[in-house]
């Protein structure tokens, strides 16, 4: 299984790299979907089948589709990325990565057997100790809903007239 693990990790990283360097928005989106799928595989390997499924359904399936809708609405916008713009962020992120790796590699856990955590357990945890979190999340989603709706209403009049 190490092999699959390594392969998925490689795919995720490579795809992400492609996402941030593409000019075409649609290309970037698609690469991101790939990356998400690879991450889902990793999660599966770690025994979290439930969230792996959620990742695919919601993240790759809903959120990315939202992005697609927006891009379709706006039309293909090609972003100009100059190689020079990468210098600063590159250095900064490299330093950050180095730090993180240093922190992570510092600890040493003995490799344990991966335990499958079924959805049942997740459900019990959600409705038990994490009940408050669930309620708050509901609020959050409601807020998002209302906000999007409100903004969208203005948009409807705007875009409707323009028809763009």
């Amino acid at each position: 299984m190490n092999l699959i693990y390594a392969a998925s990790a490689f795919v995720a990283i490579a795809a992400t790299l492609m996402v941030i360097t593409r000019r075409n928005a649609v290309h970037a989106l698609l690469y991101l979907v790939v990356s998400l799928l690879a991450v889902a595989v990793i999660m599966l390997l770690l025994g979290a089948a439930f969230v792996a499924a959620l990742e695919v359904i919601i993240y790759a399936g809903a959120i990315m589709v939202l992005f697609v809708f927006v891009i379709m609405l706006i039309g293909p916008r090609n972003d100009i990325v100059s190689p020079r713009a990468w210098i600063g962020p590159g250095i900064l992120c490299f330093i950050l990565l180095a730090e993180l790796v240093y922190v992570i590699a510092g600890g040493s856990t003995p490799p344990l057997a991966v335990k499958e955590v079924p959805p049942r357990e997740v459900g019990i945890a959600l409705l038990g100790p994490y009940l408050i979190g669930v309620e708050v999340t509901a609020f959050l989603l409601l807020a998002g809903l209302v906000g999007a709706f409100h903004l969208g209403r203005r948009l409807a009049t705007t875009l409707g007239r323009k028809g763009d």
């Binding site: 600063g88 962020p89 900064l92 992120c93 330093i95 950050l96 730090e99 993180l100 240093y102 922190v103």
Partner: protein, 639 residues
């Protein structure tokens, strides 16, 4: 007399009240507090002096260092009794006058606060039983003089005059302070009575310590009383309002120097050289100021130089040992000089703030009441009877000077010359301002000339409030002389007897032939009378010259010499002021300046740098967050 402390305390309290709440008080309240506190003080002073005895009231111990423990103590004796009557009495009249004079001025409450503070400080000064407390009052009056000269601070010239007054008197104050140090370290006390006792006991006559101490005290007195060589500030001090000039620069503060010397007479008696110096300074001042007054064009500056000149007479009297004579002249001078200043204030107002004599004229007909009181004051100043106050006091001084023998005869002669000059400049002033034809356009201004007692052709009703003090002072000018009228004319020396309970009695040197008194008086009266036509002549010539002079044309050189105070200002400017400014320019950017400047510059630099981070760009801010994260993690990891 345990309530004696109220006498200085009431005006100080009034000042505090007006300073804190004055802005929010309606004007009548301000006037009531300002004038009332001085009035109450006056009543208490009368009651205190009526009691008759010499009292010392020790309030509390001020400092205790080693064996030196000055206390806050007030002494009421003949000398301080006379002084508090003068200060509170004249002060009350002037405050009353100011209620109307300063009405409508912005800063009304500030004015009265300062004036009250001044009266309080002056009372502290004269009641002090301890030289340290006296110095406190001394500094207080200096401060108030500065504040009041520069009262109309929006004109930078006034500020300059105020600073000049403060700085020049400071030179004198430093001398006085050193003198106090000397006395304290050598005699171990600053209590006035103790100082006198110990000095007489341990310092022999003519000893260096006594001479030094007396000379330094003289230095302080010279500064405060505007005598040579520290006299340059007084003419410029006329920038303040007329009540200020009347109270501070005629009746009270400038006489503080005279008071000081009289108070410390024990030290001066031990230093005959210093007393001679005092007399010389005095007579020099009489003549120098007198001649300068002859050339002035500003009505108040004439009176300023006149004050300087009369103070010279007082110094002359002190110098020959005529202590009571000096104080008597102090009292009568307070009467007539403050009257002259207050009347001049009315004239200035009537002429719409015009100060130049030669733009005035013919006011005798336009403002008859003011003319009358001004004339009374002028007659008192020039010692012409029947206004007897100036006559009596000047005669007392001159006869003492003659009696002191030797060089005293020369001083007497110069004093008589001074009388002549006094008369000349005084009547030059009177004829120019009140005589002749009306001048200038401003005389025609002013609405209805309807008046109460005093005239207000500028439309402002001077009325009772300004007229009454003038009347009271005029009466005092006429009757004040009877306090100590010359013996040979039937008078009794009431004041001298009263004062000699505190001050040393006059020691007669040599014999005075009978009838000598009368001869001396006649001579000086003739001198004074001669001044009248001379003054008239000079006035006529000057008026004509002023009318004919084209703008920009200079006056003759010798006139300008006297006009500029005999070149003292020019001298001090070249000798002291300019070198000092040059040094200052040199030192302008030294280390002590660079440090605060550097801090400021650094802040500006940092601000400019930090401002660059606020550029509104989202990615920039995100980068900022990232950098912060990096740093925090680094800190957490490495530390």
């Amino acid at each position: 007399m345990s309530w004696m402390w109220l006498i200085p305390a009431l005006p100080l309290l009034g000042s505090l009240l007006l300073g804190v709440l004055g802005r929010r008080m309606p004007a009548p309240w301000v006037a009531a507090v300002g004038t009332g506190s001085v009035g109450l003080s006056m009543l208490l002073a009368i009651a205190a002096v009526w009691g008759g005895s010499t009292v010392t009231l020790t309030l509390w111990e001020w400092v205790r260092v080693g064996g030196f423990s000055p206390s806050i103590s007030l002494t009421l004796d003949a000398l301080s009794g006379v002084m508090i009557l003068v200060v509170t009495g004249i002060g009350f009249l002037i405050h009353l006058y100011s209620v109307r004079f300063m009405a409508g001025e912005e800063g009304y409450s500030r004015f009265f606060a300062y004036m009250n503070l001044f009266v309080g400080s002056m009372l502290l000064l004269v009641l002090a039983g301890n030289l340290l407390l006296l110095y406190l009052g001394w500094e207080g009056v200096g401060l108030c003089s500065y504040l009041l000269i520069g009262f109309w601070y929006s004109d930078p010239e006034n500020g300059r005059s105020a600073r000049k007054a403060f700085i020049v008197t400071r030179v004198g104050d430093v001398a006085l302070a050193i003198g106090l140090f000397l006395i304290a370290t050598n005699l171990g006390t600053l209590d006035i009575a103790d100082v006198a006792r110990r000095a007489t006991a341990s310092w022999g006559p003519g000893s260096t310590l006594a001479v030094a101490a007396a000379a330094l005290i003289l230095g302080g007195a010279v500064g405060k009383s505007a005598q040579l060589p520290l006299q340059t500030w007084l003419p410029d001090a006329m920038a303040g309002p007329s009540p200020v000039s009347a109270l501070i620069h005629a009746a009270t503060m400038v006489t503080a120097g005279v008071y000081l010397i009289a108070r410390t007479n024990a030290l001066f008696v031990l230093a005959p050289a210093v007393m001679s110096a005092t007399a010389i300074i005095g007579i020099a001042g009489v003549l120098f100021a007198g001649f300068s007054a002859l050339a002035q064009t500003n009505i108040k500056r004439v009176l300023a130089y006149s004050t300087m000149s009369q103070l010279g007479y007082m110094f002359l009297a002190l110098g020959v040992g005529a202590w009571s004579g000096a104080i008597f002249h102090l009292v009568t001078h307070a009467f007539f000089k403050s009257l002259l200043f207050l009347a001049a204030g009315v004239v200035i107002l009537a002429m719409n703030h015009e100060h130049d004599m030669f733009s005035m004229g013919g006011l005798a007909r336009k403002t008859p009441y003011t003319f009358a009181v001004f004339l009374i004051g002028a007659l008192a100043l020039t010692a012409l009877p029947p206004t007897t106050s100036g006559f009596a006091s000047k005669e007392l001084i001159l006869s003492r000077v003659w009696e002191s023998g030797g060089v005293g005869r020369l001083f007497w002669l110069l004093g008589v010359l001074g009388v002549f000059v006094t008369s000349a400049y005084t009547f030059r002033l009177v004829f120019t301002v009140f005589g002749g034809q009306p001048h200038g356009g401003s005389a025609g201004h002013g609405a209805n000339g309807k008046s109460g007692l005093a005239d207000g052709p500028d439309g402002r009703q001077a009325g009772l409030i300004m007229g009454a003090p003038l009347a009271v002072l005029a009466v005092l000018c006429i009757t004040g002389g009877f306090l100590d009228f010359p013996r040979n004319l039937g008078g009794r020396p009431f004041l001298t007897r009263f004062l000699e309970t505190t001050l040393p009695a006059w020691k007669q040197v040599g014999e005075m032939p009978s009838g000598a008194d009368s001869v001396l008086q006649v001579i000086s009266e003739v001198a004074s009378l001669l001044g009248v036509p001379v003054g008239w002549l000079i006035s006529r010539r000057a008026v004509r010259a002023a009318a004919e002079r084209r703008p920009g044309e200079l006056k003759p050189a010798f006139v300008r010499f006297f006009l500029g105070g005999m070149g003292f200002d020019w001298l001090y400017d070249r000798a002291f002021v300019r070198p000092f400014l040059w040094l200052w320019k040199l030192d302008e950017h030294d280390v002590a300046d660079r440090i605060p400047d550097g801090v400021g510059g650094l802040s500006m630099l940092l601000s400019r740098v930090v401002r660059l981070t606020q550029n509104g760009r989202v990615r920039w801010y995100a980068a900022g967050v990232a950098v912060g994260a990096v740093l925090v993690i680094a800190a957490a990891v490495l530390l």
